[in-house]
């Protein structure tokens, strides 16, 4: 039964990708939603424990085996639950798209790999899922493959993830070399600080790729080229949280390497703030949300870096709800405005589109950290822990909160308030409304779900910090409402996205590419060409001898034979005159001779 959870989406994907094009739209919709719904229903009754199905690589703990514990149950339910909502939503969103079967097939495929990733009981099987979600992400970002920008974005996402995956592979080798097993529990039992540092750094590098942290976060905003429900599911709620999950899963290794945890926290804090500043100057509604995702993931890494693994997972959980809600609301807006994504061309949608306005405001309030809503509950835990361990990180977190509230409300202002720019938007089908309502409810109440062990409460100190965070959020909203250009002197930095893309390009594409190219050219010219030329000279010398032998001995024999035969045949050739009648005469003579011989015999 446990195995059925990932197998159902795999079945759906296989059917869609093999014969999906021959199936009517209603069957595709029903089938794909049914597989995810089935997986979700099964996950509600899933037993805990370790389930081994088959040996894959014997002796090193890399088996087809699932580890079902509190953490993976949460992830399974999150992936299938949010996945189900987004599948249902996609029925409405993709109703005018002819590639719907391909779309649903990829989406099912993604859910399969994501489940594999969170259910595996060892690093190797999880890596299969890790790569698989990257593949599904690539396919879905490039879903509109007739747009060049979509293809480029898909390549960028795939390549940047590959860079991170190198870290994962090396981490796997490190763990394998140190403990001889890739099984989570067995390797965690043998953790020693010496190799834990290397493994933790490498795993964290892998996580920066998958979860879009510095320096590898620039692929995520570009990934918005995919259909909006995909952005909600893969690039906000689930796949990008794989890095968080993986670090939480490897907490034994990370806890043994406190210095690496410090790096994780620092990178998380800096990414959170940096992405928030970039989100402030975006004009594309989906890009605002994308940078917001990077920023929120940064907060999760901040929590991980402080050793508060369950707090990070808690934020992951609440974030999945409100970020999916925000993306799907944005999708509703985009859908009803015939694909318009530029917020500068929107405005005043509140009157014509109160439904999307309501869901967006709920999502915004949740992410901004208005007390009681989901985002507040988890972010408050992170900030509280940060304040206890390192106040500087707390400052980063609060500043990020303020900026988050600011850019999110700026988005609401630009999209829903102000003067209407558009005619009546289309109405939404029920399949798109229902998931929005469910996610909105989740965004309000998800924070009250008890998960793991919350940090010890700190009495008035904690309430004071809560008040400060709330005040920061309200300030951000107020400033956005008053149309204040917060930090406007630095906009040129934010617009260029802190030059991260340029630095990466300069360092890797140009630096390693061309610098490495120069070195390779030197090796090529000196060593490789030298060897080739030496071999060429030797071959030439040998061939000289060969030529002499050939032209005198071999050719001599052949020519002598030819000449001899030519001389010997000279008399015979004289018979050939070329004249037809000579030949006729010869035939007659021959016939007469034969006749004479035959008659006189």
């Amino acid at each position: 039964m446990v195995a059925l959870i990932p197998l159902l989406p795999l079945l759906g994907a296989a059917i869609m990708l093999l014969i999906g094009r021959y199936l009517p739209r209603a069957v595709v919709n029903l089938l794909c939603c049914a597989t995810i719904a089935g997986a979700f229903a099964l996950s509600l009754a899933i037993p805990q424990g370790e389930f081994v199905f088959a040996t894959w690589l014997p002796g090193i703990g890399a088996d087809w085996a699932f580890l079902i514990d509190e953490l993976s149950i949460l992830m399974i339910r999150l992936v299938t639950g949010i996945g189900l909502l987004i599948h249902v939503y996609s029925i409405g969103y993709m109703e005018h798209d002819s590639g719907y079967y391909r779309y649903f097939g990829y989406l099912n495929l993604f859910v399969f790999f994501m489940l594999l990733l969170v259910m595996a009981n060892n690093y190797a099987l999880a890596f299969a899922g890790w790569e698989g979600v990257g593949l599904a992400s690539y396919l879905l970002i490039g879903f509109y493959f007739d747009r060049k920008s979509a293809g480029d974005a898909a390549n960028k996402a795939f390549l940047m993830n590959r860079v991170g995956d190198t870290g994962y592979l090396l981490a796997m080798f490190t763990i394998l070399a140190a403990t001889g097993t890739l099984n989570y529990a067995k390797s965690a039992a043998e953790v020693t600080p010496t190799w834990a540092v290397a493994a933790a750094v490498l795993l964290f590098f892998a996580a920066t790729g998958k979860s879009a942290q510095l320096p590898l976060f620039t692929w995520l905003p570009d990934a918005m080229e995919g259909p909006t429900p995909v952005s909600a599911l893969i690039h906000a709620a689930t796949m990008v949280t794989a890095g968080i999950y993986m670090i939480a899963r490897s907490q034994a290794i990370f806890s043994a390497a406190p210095k690496v945890l410090g790096i994780v926290a620092a990178i998380g804090a800096v990414t959170a703030l940096m992405a928030a500043t970039i989100a402030m100057v975006q004009a594309d509604i989906k890009r605002v949300l994308a940078y917001s995702t990077v920023s929120q993931l940064g907060l999760m890494f901040l929590a991980l870096g402080l050793g508060a693994y369950w707090t990070a997972v808690f934020h992951l959980f609440t974030h999945a709800f409100f970020k999916a809600l925000l993306f799907l609301s944005a999708g509703a807006v985009i859908h009803s405005l015939d694909g318009e994504q530029d917020m500068r061309k929107m405005g005043g949608l509140r009157k014509n589109f109160p439904f999307a306005f309501a869901t967006t405001v709920i999502g915004t309030m949740a992410i901004a950290g208005i007390p009681g809503l989901a985002g507040f509950m988890s972010k408050d835990q992170i900030l509280w822990i940060a304040y206890q361990r390192a106040p500087i990180l707390w400052a980063f977190g609060v500043t990020t909160s303020l900026l988050t509230a600011f850019y999110m409300w700026r988005m609401v202002e630009m999209t829903f308030l102000g003067e209407p720019h558009h005619a009546e938007p289309h109405s939404l089908p029920l399949t798109m409304r229902a998931p929005l309502v469910i996610l909105a409810i989740g965004s309000i109440f998800a924070g009250w779900v008890p998960l793991g062990t919350p940090p010890a409460h700190g009495g008035s100190m904690e309430y004071g910090l809560m008040a400060i965070a709330t005040l920061a959020a309200l300030t951000g909203i107020y400033l956005a409402h008053r149309d204040v250009m917060l930090l406007s002197p630095f906009y040129f930095i934010f617009r260029r996205r802190w030059w991260v893309d340029e630095v990466l390009f300069g360092l890797f594409a140009r630096g390693f590419g061309q610098g490495g190219g120069g070195m390779l050219a030197a090796i090529d010219g000196g060593v490789v060409d030298g060897a080739v030329e030496g071999a060429g000279w030797l071959t030439k010398a040998i061939s000289r001898v060969s030529i002499l032998w050939d032209s005198w001995i071999v050719d001599g024999a052949v020519r002598f034979t030819g000449t001899a035969i030519r001389l010997a045949s000279y008399p015979a050739r004289l018979i050939q005159t070329g004249s037809l009648q000579n030949y006729a005469l010869a035939i007659l003579a021959g016939a007469a001779a034969f006749l004479g011989w035959a008659l006189t015999r």
Partner: protein
């Protein structure tokens, strides 16, 4: 009364005329005509002996020979026209490239 012997004489005469024509005349059209004479000499022989031996096979064979002769004439004349287009001549002794 015309006996089989008369036919054989006629046939031999035609064969001789045809053979000499092939050997002596230079014009290829005439050569082809001479070849027809040879073939018809044979035909006369076949028919005559068919009559003489009261056996129909000879006559049937003569029909075949006529058929083949037609095909041969068609091919021969075709070659002749191709030759004339290339060499502007129908003289057999001027066409003697195929030699040592």
């Amino acid at each position: 009364m015309i006996t089989t012997g008369h036919y054989i004489v006629l046939s031999a005469a035609l064969l001789l005329i045809g053979t000499l024509g092939v050997l002596i005349r230079r014009n290829i059209v005439v050569l082809l005509m001479s070849i027809e004479l040879i073939l018809n000499a044979v035909n006369i022989n076949l028919v005559a002996f068919s009559q003489h031996l009261q056996n129909l096979e000879g006559q049937i064979f003569a029909i075949f020979v006529v058929t083949v002769a037609v095909a041969e004439a068609a091919v021969g004349l075709g070659i002749l026209i191709a030759l004339f287009r290339n060499k502007e001549t129908v003289q057999a002794d001027e066409v003697n490239l195929l030699k040592w």
